[in-house]
Assembly symmetry: D2
Homo-oligomer: 361 residues x 4
Amino acid sequence: MSSSFGDRVKISIFGQSHSEAIGVVIDGLPVGEEIDLEAAQRFLDRRAPGKNAYSTPRKEGDQVRVVSGLFDSKTCGAPICAMIENTNTRSKDYAQLKDMPRPGHADFTAEIKYHGFQDYRGGGHFSGRLTAPLCFAGAVCLQILERRGISIGAHILSIHEQKDKSFDAVYITKEELAEVVSKEFPTIEDGAGEEMKAIIQKAREEGDSVGGVIECVAIGLPVGIGEPMFDGLESKLSSIVFAIPAVKGIEFGEGFGVATLFGSQNNDLFYIEETGKIKTKTNHHGGSLGGISSGMPLVIRTAFKPTPSISKNQATVSLEKGKNTTLSVTGRHDPCIVPRAVPCVEAAMAIALLDLYELFQ
Amino acid sequence: MSSSFGDRVKISIFGQSHSEAIGVVIDGLPVGEEIDLEAAQRFLDRRAPGKNAYSTPRKEGDQVRVVSGLFDSKTCGAPICAMIENTNTRSKDYAQLKDMPRPGHADFTAEIKYHGFQDYRGGGHFSGRLTAPLCFAGAVCLQILERRGISIGAHILSIHEQKDKSFDAVYITKEELAEVVSKEFPTIEDGAGEEMKAIIQKAREEGDSVGGVIECVAIGLPVGIGEPMFDGLESKLSSIVFAIPAVKGIEFGEGFGVATLFGSQNNDLFYIEETGKIKTKTNHHGGSLGGISSGMPLVIRTAFKPTPSISKNQATVSLEKGKNTTLSVTGRHDPCIVPRAVPCVEAAMAIALLDLYELFQ
Amino acid sequence: MSSSFGDRVKISIFGQSHSEAIGVVIDGLPVGEEIDLEAAQRFLDRRAPGKNAYSTPRKEGDQVRVVSGLFDSKTCGAPICAMIENTNTRSKDYAQLKDMPRPGHADFTAEIKYHGFQDYRGGGHFSGRLTAPLCFAGAVCLQILERRGISIGAHILSIHEQKDKSFDAVYITKEELAEVVSKEFPTIEDGAGEEMKAIIQKAREEGDSVGGVIECVAIGLPVGIGEPMFDGLESKLSSIVFAIPAVKGIEFGEGFGVATLFGSQNNDLFYIEETGKIKTKTNHHGGSLGGISSGMPLVIRTAFKPTPSISKNQATVSLEKGKNTTLSVTGRHDPCIVPRAVPCVEAAMAIALLDLYELFQ
Amino acid sequence: MSSSFGDRVKISIFGQSHSEAIGVVIDGLPVGEEIDLEAAQRFLDRRAPGKNAYSTPRKEGDQVRVVSGLFDSKTCGAPICAMIENTNTRSKDYAQLKDMPRPGHADFTAEIKYHGFQDYRGGGHFSGRLTAPLCFAGAVCLQILERRGISIGAHILSIHEQKDKSFDAVYITKEELAEVVSKEFPTIEDGAGEEMKAIIQKAREEGDSVGGVIECVAIGLPVGIGEPMFDGLESKLSSIVFAIPAVKGIEFGEGFGVATLFGSQNNDLFYIEETGKIKTKTNHHGGSLGGISSGMPLVIRTAFKPTPSISKNQATVSLEKGKNTTLSVTGRHDPCIVPRAVPCVEAAMAIALLDLYELFQ
């Protein structure tokens, strides 16, 4: 159960940070869909580390190998299995984690849950590494959605106190999404991006880390995607987005902002375009009414906590000795995972939407 | 798919606002659990309307009838089915909804999704009515969790701009939860509650509505509840909480607040109590690390939008005539559903936690 | 898990032999489908007992009440919930079962599995009573399938040594199915039916019971229904058919007969009709190749064991005293459940096929 | 959906006959279980072809590579992914299958279902090749079951008209199972085995094929394994056994034989052993009552059709030309897949039983 998602398009992710390989099985895709593996690899490369000053110097070299599910480059009804060999892993870095759980990590909860049998190297299957197959699966789903006129794009809305401007929830276009997604550091306003990089760099120098918020939008959804009650857009999207490590909150449309609004302010009024299409003048609902797509842009924001791995000394416990101690997390870590998480959020949204899209057929 | 939830403890909700009855089937409960139906009814009564000035004058009279699944008042391995007859429904109120979708409601999306075949009376199966069986199922799960030392309680954290104080995420006790839950208007500070009631009353008088935030906590969870990746605490809880109409956001622990923190501020440091128990000094993580319970209080906050049904005139469209028009939603509506939603959030948490608890066994 | 079935069209059955009511929730049906409840009731009546000499004198009076899911007599996207009140139950008949498990029944396994908490009255939720909601759900699914040109019908292929002739697996028509289904004792050859009734009557007089075989066919299936591997026609159908108490075997097409054939005998050769339609000259495969419908009639046979409840003295144990004893099952029982099981097999096939049909869309 | 199985222990199989690799992801296994990969490989080797005169000369060289899910040779809570590279595939053999469907194969149904996009080489993902990962998953589950005192073994009960003796359904021992399983041609009576080999060899020489029956038994099951209704032992086992290509029937205990018995003959009478253990004197029920294990040996028999691929000329159609034609299936094929299917049936049973065993915990 735990590592699979979806009712119609089912993905099953496997692997640990330091296992021989990680990967994903994607079942239930529509057939005859051409998949551009190079484009999928480029999508995946967006989450790769070591590209620059503000992320970890590790080179992961995540090269995807698709071993099944495609025939003449098209989906053929058999599940796709994509593998990524784990390379450049330094197990010795992690020897002490078995004894001293890192604050903010799953080391402690996994140790107890799995009675000490979990793979503690690099966070095991709780590692951010597992978002690589998630991204690949998302890239595949996204190609299929785009063929149906649906586009998805995300940007960094904030890092610490520095904010980017928000997407226009009513008029955002496919072109605007494509442009921000193409950026090496995806913000709408480049100036804000520069400030954010500086904040991240400063945190690195101080052996600290910072958090932030990602805003993700899907446009071109037909009206009617999403099932009532437990399979609504919000339920489906949140359940997969929270599978991305470090996410602590998610909101749709106006989100927590609705709590301070009056109904007369929050309600989005319907009108008919000259084209005859029914739209809303505002989009506080964020594209979902009753868990079902309204045809307006689908807007979510997700909060990411600062990377728990910091080199500053922190108090923790020695499980073996049963006493308090202190720890400085060595090894190579991102001072901020938000930039690398941008494609992960897009991927999660793509997977959830294709699953619901297929259920809707 | 759409109306059922759970992997181990599976609930399946049925009914529409104006169908003969609504209810729920609960499958997979542990056997031999005594269920106090009167206590469950009292729990359900907390969401009943018409109790006071700040909620709708409708009398729903939600009397639950359990028709299966209990033997000598104990779970017996067969699914529990609980029914609530729909009474006091005024269908005539809703005749126009088929043509003129209410802003902020699922009328429009349901009309398109179901090609006009949906039950449009009172929101059909998108109605808040369906949270009644959810509450009953939650009450049943909660009794089983309490027998295992787990307590759940929620309060109104804010209505519009008026805030209540937050639970103490580290030291909150079972007794404090019981006390706030027992209140007719559940806030920690009664003064804040009075202010909130006044805000709601004012909105009613103006034919408007207001939103708010509910904070819900579970204590007594053992370490290890929650499955990795897609079945983590956050994924499971959010997917069911978003099934409650009007929820637009959810956050865990520090939630969106983490975005502006440094790792050195956000990380919760482990220490060993004299009892030998491992805890964290702070609880920004909100009781979940890697989607798995840490043993610290599990803390969530959910944002509710203002009731979309307001008597003020609003622009909308006539689907039949295909032209713009205006609408004033008549009938009996809550100017604020937050107070009635408090037990719904507790119920959703109880169902999700028991499902994960049983998976953990 | 245990009491729900289906991936797209999900049914959840509830109730025990002596609970207040039994019923079923049906979720995921296509919308806008008119459901003729009187026709569904007539279908259900086919499994009713007390109709004649060869079945139990009990009058079950299974009147179905649909409390949700239909609007203007059509499916509306909300789950259908159908209830049957349990009436005319004599609990005293069953008092001793708690102590002395009936040979051939689930009394013993349920007692151990549920640690003595199961509802032992009349077999609890293992009772044949639960096939009533199954039949209702099947009747609903069947009406939807018939609207798509698919017909299902079954007959009694054998009772003890007495055989009826088999359906023509290649040329069976809708009309022939309708005719046999309309019979009060469904056999193709009435003479065989009379012999079977005599065998059943004789068994009753001797305080014994007999078993038999039911053959069920679906025609009009398009090519392509069924998913590969674990969701093939055989997997789906067998998993629901075995939910009918007393079924001990199932076979498709030639079934166990294939074991003694050569490939050159068993292979069904393809040819093109003048209409351009591709068919097979024979139908040993029974309408399924690779788990997917071939367009030929889908043919299954299921073996039913003799009713375990017999009045003859039988050895058993007293769980309480922990010693061997003997038992004579009193109360009212069918000397042969095969005649009443005919609509149950049709219903099971209808549910499984609609689920796969919707998955195929 | 289609390629995954299980509620608690979930397996997801991927690959096609001629894809780069095939494999399986196994999620939800209990943690801390040591897995002997060499023993698993030996189990898998039992289904390997090319070992002798009566199977295909192809050398498949199915070497399993486990890329995740084990840490220090033990299950660690992360899914196991096992890969088998596809080698020695001759794609040219299969070029014509796209146009001329082989009688008895899924070529035709897959062509229609997947609109011509399916991987038609060697049967694509309908190929018997996919039973290799099934066998590996079964071997893993079997090691875990054996640690709990449960043994599984199967033998060839019949090939064409030649029968082996049956297992003793009441007194079969672990040692007897181990002995028959260790045989290169698993029959209880070696004489019967020699006759069967001769029948298979003769079929090969005539360019034909033969079918047979496999009997499989599990012993050591505690009382209580299996869920009511749709997740009973019969439902679970049949749904996975029918995923093995060529299976056309399955029966439990007395199976179809019950149809000709009286209740007084078929009922298995309970008695208490001197040990205090409750058993039945006979085992017509085959170890399952109400879908739940009774503690008696679990006995199933499955019918396998003769291999559809035969070199004899057969009538078929040219989909391209839309006319009738004839076909002689070239390439390397088993004249009888029954011997190689023996471990597949054991594997299927092991997977289903571990899934139910974990649900039972």
